[in-house]
Amino acid sequence: MVSSTTALRVCINVLVISTPILVLLFLFAQYAALFGTLRFSTDFSDESAFIDPWRPLGRAMDREKNLRTGDTVQRIVGEPVYMDVSVPRSFDSVDVTMEYKNSGHPLVEFGLITSTEPYAVRLQPFQSTLIDEALTQWNITTDASSGLTLLQREQQYDSVSTFVANPPRDAVAATYNASIPYTYTDATYRPSSSTITIDRLLRGSHQFVVYAAKEHLHSTWSFVDMNREFNDDGVRIEVLLKGNVIWEEWLVDDGDVTASGVVTEERTLNIDFPFVEPGVYEYRISTTNDMVLTHITSDQERFVVKNALTVINNEEFINAFPNVDTAPTILTMSGLQLRAQTDHPAGLQTVLIDDEELILEEVHTPTWWEAEQFHELLATRTVVLPRNDVTIVTQGFYAFDPASYFDPNDAILPLNERVTLDLLDYILYSNYSAPEETNHTVLQHVTLSLEGVAGDRKELTFVLSAPGLDRDDNELTIERMEFIFHRDPLWKRLKKRFAPPL
């Protein structure tokens, strides 16, 4: 009897002492991701060691507890919002699951900041109510090799590749997270005998698109370095045809990498291609905000600026350009939305879009204009920048002269939150699957690669973007978030490390 009691005591001792040790070993293994995964989640009811709540306040509300159900949520009323996540190791990818309520906002994207200097964000589709609706009603054609899906109101194309090669000219198509090479062609086009000149001061990076057919593709680009910031002000100019770079040139810094404010002499770069095939050519200019394009000439008359334009013909820059022409800039624009922002008090002004006013009242504050008649998808408008010193952004094109304007996309639009299904005949998209919807709650998963994220990848900032959320008075109510981080398990990493070289 005594011996059995002693044996039992020993068993209890072993059990009681070894259990916490095993638990601790398990926790260490999980924390160090020895098996290759680290999983954690938040329902916002308590603080988490890994996850901070969405910020900034104002766009993301404080966490709210429902006293009846005991659930805690965080409401998002503006965008973009950020969530900081700290992990003890660096990982290769992360699966994110978010459970939320969407009061009716049509477009939600999720991603992460990949670099803060320069600022870069990688976003992925998260929820498009428009695509979700089309998926239930339209014809679906998928292409496994390209990952593209084509939705057709009435089936006209047998395959995605046929659509991409020969997009419709008499119907409206939208693309989302997918691109189609410019489709514009004009059989009636005749090369112009004159040269167009643009003398506006354009600051920083820009993209220009021209149409050329059986002629010399010729343009000149003059730059001035203002040396306002401490950096290397090189310029990279690329020429692209059908999305492929066909020519590239570097213009090195003027040698002054300080913020001396000394404006260096104008330097000019010539681009010349003899007898190019008919098509849409893109000039992509990547540089810093110290570099200003002072003078552009082009033999191609059809010449537009793509998406973003910064014109600085304003007295703010009179020290750098004593003879600056501060006359208003008049543009022809396509696009159903326009975002304008100035960074100097001298740039506060009322931008005119046809007869509508877009008043810039504060510096560093983006101000939005949206077309009221949204069915006029392909209409052009006149934009007047009375005082310049403003950056304008649209999902369309601008021309400095109405005669230069053309739409390289024809009738293909980027999908945005204002486009409605009745306006479209086709939607081409990639990398999106409809979320699960149950009882007004949306459950969506997304896998994000962490390759290319700057730093040690232990401090990550996730981004939730819902363009126009603050303008359409909708909100997202986040109920739960789960992160599953992935990396190679320890044995695999050891195997890689000690594997003999091939």
């Binding site: 009897m1 209890i12 916490p20 926790l27 890994f50």
Partner: protein
């Protein structure tokens, strides 16, 4: 009859002693591990709280302590 009673009492005493021993040992081990967990959580945030609530852990230790006192009082009467 006396032998049966004696055996029964001995068995009961042994059972009580074993229970008391188990609770007392568990209480001491968990108290020590709670302190270790607090230090570990401070050094490696999230290692414990991602899986175990430290508040819950503390309540378990307190309850075990209370049970242990009750058993101890029973054994001394």
């Amino acid at each position: 009859m006396e032998t049966v009673e004696k055996t029964f009492c001995t068995a009961a005493m042994n059972t009580h002693s074993l229970t008391y021993h188990s609770v007392w040992l568990t209480f001491r081990v968990l108290t020590a591990w709670y302190l270790v967990a607090v230090v570990l959580e401070y050094l490696l945030p999230g290692i414990i709280t991602n899986y175990i609530s430290l508040d819950l852990f503390l309540w378990v230790v307190i309850l075990l302590g209370a049970v242990n006192i009750l058993l101890w009082k029973r054994s001394t009467h």
